[in-house]
């Protein structure tokens, strides 16, 4: 088994942090992808974040009332080794460069 960590995603509108309202999953839970995971509140609104991953929850970061910055660890899943291998082949820091290159293409239409 391997562990995958997910950070607090970019919530748009230039928001840099969010406050945890309530966790809807707990360590030890087996969750499905897109299952409601946590409620967070920003300065503009409250949002329910779905799980980005199927797997067993190992750790959650942030108590209710606590603040997490965008990009900081939010949740860690335990997944079978072969699944982690596929995800692990894409280094996290490479993703933004790829998006920039892809976004240039539609403008040629």
């Amino acid at each position: 088994m391997a562990e995958i960590s997910f950070p607090l995603p970019d919530l748009g509108e230039g928001l840099i942090e969010a406050t945890v309202l309530e966790w809807l999953v707990a360590p030890g839970d087996q969750v499905e992808r897109n299952q409601p995971m946590v409620e967070v509140e920003t300065t503009k609104s409250a949002v329910e974040l779905p799980s980005p991953q199927a797997g067993k929850v190992v750790r959650i970061h942030g108590e209710p009332g606590g603040t997490i910055a965008v990009g900081e660890p939010l949740i860690v899943f335990e997944v079978p080794d072969n699944t982690a291998g596929i995800v692990g082949t894409v280094p996290a820091e490479e993703a933004p460069r790829r998006r920039v290159r892809l976004s240039a293409l539609p403008e040629d239409d």
Binding site: L21, L24, P36, E39, S45, A46, V47, P50
Partner: protein, 273 residues
């Protein structure tokens, strides 16, 4: 005659009193349909169907429960048009537009023994006020209503419009806390059209909320955070009808009650009865 496909994005607009309301409407089908009537969601002031219902997990929660969902952005909000004329923003006009769109989407009058007939409504804040009035006037259509963040007072009617305009002109501080908070909400999102927000307030002043004037007869569930100051008078609203239940969400306020799982569970269970 043209048929109006419910999935068609280019569905010909149905005019109301000769005008196309240009409201942004969404329909969301469940993977497994419970066979129950559609649920109409009405968002709050300076919000949108996306902010109030999608980002907060309501659409997926209702679809997972087998419910078909209809959303609409209020005029000047979300993806709806922001007309110049004041009449487009009056609560009575908005209710007429809503009646037309749910009818176009297949909602039909309640029929005893048919669980797919009629319409359920979940409103939040201003959406609750509209749901209350809609339920009171459409007793043959509306089956049950959930009112979130609702009170017996009308914060839009009490809004100090001259003070807001003065503030926007030269930054003079607004004395009334509720007015200042509402204006801040209206200015918070770049997608909000401030002219439309103020038009809606002006139009709401023409038709202030008077819940005792017409009381819905169908069962209603009133839900709010126990720290929600705008819903402090929720009990007054509940007292007007014998068919109401109330639920307070511990630790939640007017902004963050919307994502509450307890809120969703209670609403879904109540509307399934």
């Amino acid at each position: 005659m043209e048929t109006h496909g419910k999935h068609s994005a280019s569905r010909p607009a149905h005019t109301v009193e000769g005008t196309d309301p240009q409201l942004h409407v969404g329909t969301y089908e469940p993977a497994v349909d419970a066979g129950l009537r559609p649920v109409l969601l009405l968002h709050g002031f300076a919000s949108s169907a996306k902010l109030n219902w999608s980002d907060t997990g309501w659409l997926s929660a209702l679809n997972s429960a087998g419910r078909r969902v209809i959303t609409v952005d209020l005029p000047g909000h979300g993806g709806s048009a922001a007309p110049d004329d004041l009449d487009s923003y009056t609560p009575s006009r908005i209710r007429a537009d809503i009646l037309q769109l749910v009818t176009d989407l297949g909602a039909r009058p309640l029929h005893a023994g048919d669980a797919a007939s009629g319409l359920d409504i979940i409103g939040y804040s201003l959406g609750s006020r509209l749901a209350w009035e809609f339920g009171a006037t459409q007793g043959e259509l509306v089956h049950r209503i959930v009112l979130g963040g609702a009170g017996g007072l009308d914060p839009l009617a009490a809004f100090d419009l001259p003070a807001a305009q003065q503030y926007l002109a030269d930054g003079t501080a607004i004395a009334d806390d509720s007015t200042a908070a509402l204006l801040q909400m209206a200015q918070l999102l770049p997608s909000n059209n401030l002219f439309s927000m103020l038009s809606l307030i002006e139009a709401a002043k023409l038709e202030p909320f008077d819940p005792a004037e017409a009381v819905p007869r169908m069962p209603m569930l009133l839900i709010a955070g126990d720290k929600d100051e705008r819903a402090a008078t929720m009990g007054d609203l509940a007292a007007l009808s014998p068919a109401t239940e109330q639920l307070l969400l511990p630790g939640r306020n007017h902004t963050n009650a919307v994502t509450s799982r307890a809120f969703k569970h209670a609403a879904i269970e109540f509307l399934a009865q």
